[in-house]
């Protein structure tokens, strides 16, 4: 089907390297995709690997379901995962609460300082994590703030706000302003107009921003590694375990997080399809 679809796209000339389009390029694409999936396969495969010492070796020792029966047997690892989930949930909530109003302001009002805000938000997203993490740690040390759960949360909100603003802002820009005007003409005060018209329309954007924030937070390693103090999140625990050997439970949890993420992504795509192209 793809080759047939391809003939029409690049103009109607039948000449040219047709073989490239029909076999070589699709074959190459499949190969690259397969390559990108190798680490996922390795993670899932090794979560079934026997490990008599409780730490995985690079060699394959045989199939077992043991680690799926006892995924939470390592208390430190489990509490690190719980920290990650708590920080991801809280930072998503705070970043969304702070980011949505800011996105509304940036997308719907012209005001002094707007251009500067755009630059700062872009810088927040583009700045290398090492620099962000190092500067936050320097700041906390300077102020004598002890590092731990709270400082991780503060750091995660600081980068998540920027992503929420960017995602929600795009959604607000696409919003048909006349719908809000219509609500106001029909006697709705600004708050009613917001809750009844604007909010439902930008909700998919808010949801997308929140999901992205959650994913970025639960996955963040570099910035967290600077501001964590003695508190460990899931990625920090895994990194720390590299030198002494990885317990199979790490790959079990990795696999479960992977499956949960994919399920949410698919549910999101399906929900958007059902709502129609307007919400894509």
């Amino acid at each position: 089907m793809s080759a047939a679809a391809g003939t029409g796209v690049l103009g109607a000339r039948p000449s040219g390297p047709r073989r490239l389009r029909r076999f070589i390029l699709p074959g190459y694409v499949v190969a690259v995709i397969a390559y990108t999936l190798v680490p996922i396969a390795v993670m899932i495969l090794y979560s079934f690997n026997k490990a008599p010492s409780g730490r995985l070796t690079f060699a394959w020792k045989g199939f077992t379901l043991d680690w799926y029966k006892h995924p939470f047997d390592i208390p430190d690892l489990t509490s690190a995962l719980v920290h990650s989930l708590e920080i991801a949930s809280l930072s998503t909530l705070i970043a969304t609460a702070l980011g949505v109003p800011a996105a509304l302001a940036l997308a719907r009002y012209r005001f002094r300082g707007r251009a500067l805000s755009d630059v700062v938000i872009l810088a927040d997203i583009a700045a290398p994590s090492v620099v962000v993490g190092a500067s936050l740690l320097g700041f906390f040390i300077y102020l004598g703030v002890p590092r731990g759960f709270t400082t991780i949360l503060i750091a995660h909100v600081a980068f998540n706000v920027a992503f929420v603003v960017v995602v929600v802002q795009a959604r607000v820009r696409d919003l048909d302003e006349s719908l809000v005007e219509a609500a106001k003409d029909l006697g709705a005060n600004p708050f009613v107009a917001f809750w009844k018209v604007t909010f439902p329309l930008i909700f998919p954007g808010i949801l997308a921003g929140a999901l992205l924030a959650f994913a970025l937070s639960i996955d963040d390693f570099i910035i967290t590694s600077f501001v964590a103090g003695q508190t460990l999140t899931f990625p920090l625990w895994v990194y720390g375990a590299v030198k002494v050997g990885i317990p199979p439970q790490v790959f079990v949890m990795g696999t479960l997080i992977f499956l949960a993420g994919v399920a949410i992504a698919i549910a999101n795509v399906v929900a958007q399809r059902r709502r129609g192209p307007a919400t894509a």
Partner: protein, 289 residues
């Protein structure tokens, strides 16, 4: 009077909406960047503490001491960016022009690695590339590789890890740019007698440039500043500047040195971005980042 109050209120609305989020970002992103400038100019040691002595000499000192790691970071970062670009452009092209109904499914598959925790993603390469792992171990067992062959701890392993991690970041903006190309432009070129190669080189490639620029920028900044690939897949001879900053700050509590290094890295990247933007134009980059 009430009209003026109403006017004032309307002017205040965007500020009130933006203030909480803006304040958070200013206090915990902008101010810290300024704060480490002052930390970098301190002298002292980790036991007695540090005090501000305006020690500007730290900058030439750390540049001199860590120039190898700086250059290596740019080498690894830019090499992995270039490889990711060459590998992913055809893939993005194929999905945009020949993906048909399966475009979104194919994109989701490209993005699947993102659902694996970042550290685990790098860690699995340790398992794949290990001397006695599934790949090298097997190849050695059947005699296709000498038994002392190794990949881990070499620059190749670090660059491979960085490259792998940037593939989706590179593919996405290029795909968006390619997918936005008005197909009638290509048809027009064909009607005017352009060969397929000419259609690609003179229409498709230039129109996809904004996506390419955005992808390069995104990936290069991330990879030059990375330290996880080097820490997990590399060895003592592959230390990047990110590793130095992390060790000096978190483990050695040598705050001035680490702060100076972080600021130099930031300045070098900003300078690079400025030159890059002047050379290739920036108007469209912002739309993709």
């Amino acid at each position: 009077m009430t009209a003026r109050v109403a006017q004032l209120r309307r002017t205040a609305v965007p500020y009130v909406l933006e203030l909480p989020g803006g304040l958070w970002v200013v206090v915990f992103f902008v101010v810290p960047l300024a704060a480490i400038l002052s930390v970098s100019l301190m002298t002292g040691n980790s036991i007695d503490g540090y005090s501000l002595t305006w020690n500007f000499h730290i900058y030439p000192e750390v540049i001199d001491q860590y120039s190898t790691q700086f250059l290596r970071s740019f080498y690894y970062g830019l090499a992995s960016t270039a490889i990711a670009l060459v590998v992913m452009y055809p893939v993005a092209y194929w999905i945009a022009f020949h993906g048909g109904r399966h475009k979104s499914t194919m994109l989701l598959v490209i993005l699947l690695p993102f659902f694996v925790s970042f550290v685990i993603r790098i860690l699995t390469w340790q398992f794949i590339l290990a001397d006695q792992g599934i790949v090298l171990g097997t190849l050695k067992d059947i005699g296709l590789l000498p038994s002392d062959f190794h990949v881990l701890s070499t620059p190749a392993a670090v660059i491979a890890g960085l490259t792998y991690d940037s593939l989706p970041f590179m593919a996405l903006p290029i795909y968006v740019a390619l997918d936005n190309i008005d197909r009638t432009h290509i048809e027009a070129a064909a009607d005017l007698g352009a060969s397929r190669l000419q259609q690609f080189l003179r229409v498709v490639l230039p129109l996809s440039a904004p996506g390419v620029y955005a992808g390069i920028l995104l990936v290069a900044i991330t990879n030059i500043g990375d330290y996880v690939s080097a820490a997990i897949l590399g060895g003592p001879s592959t230390t990047m500047i990110g590793n130095i900053i992390q060790t000096q700050y978190v483990e050695n509590a040598n705050y001035p040195t680490a702060s100076a290094l972080a600021l130099i890295l930031m300045a070098a990247l900003l300078l690079g971005m400025y030159v890059y933007a002047r050379a290739f134009g920036t108007r469209t980059i912002q739309e993709y980042v």
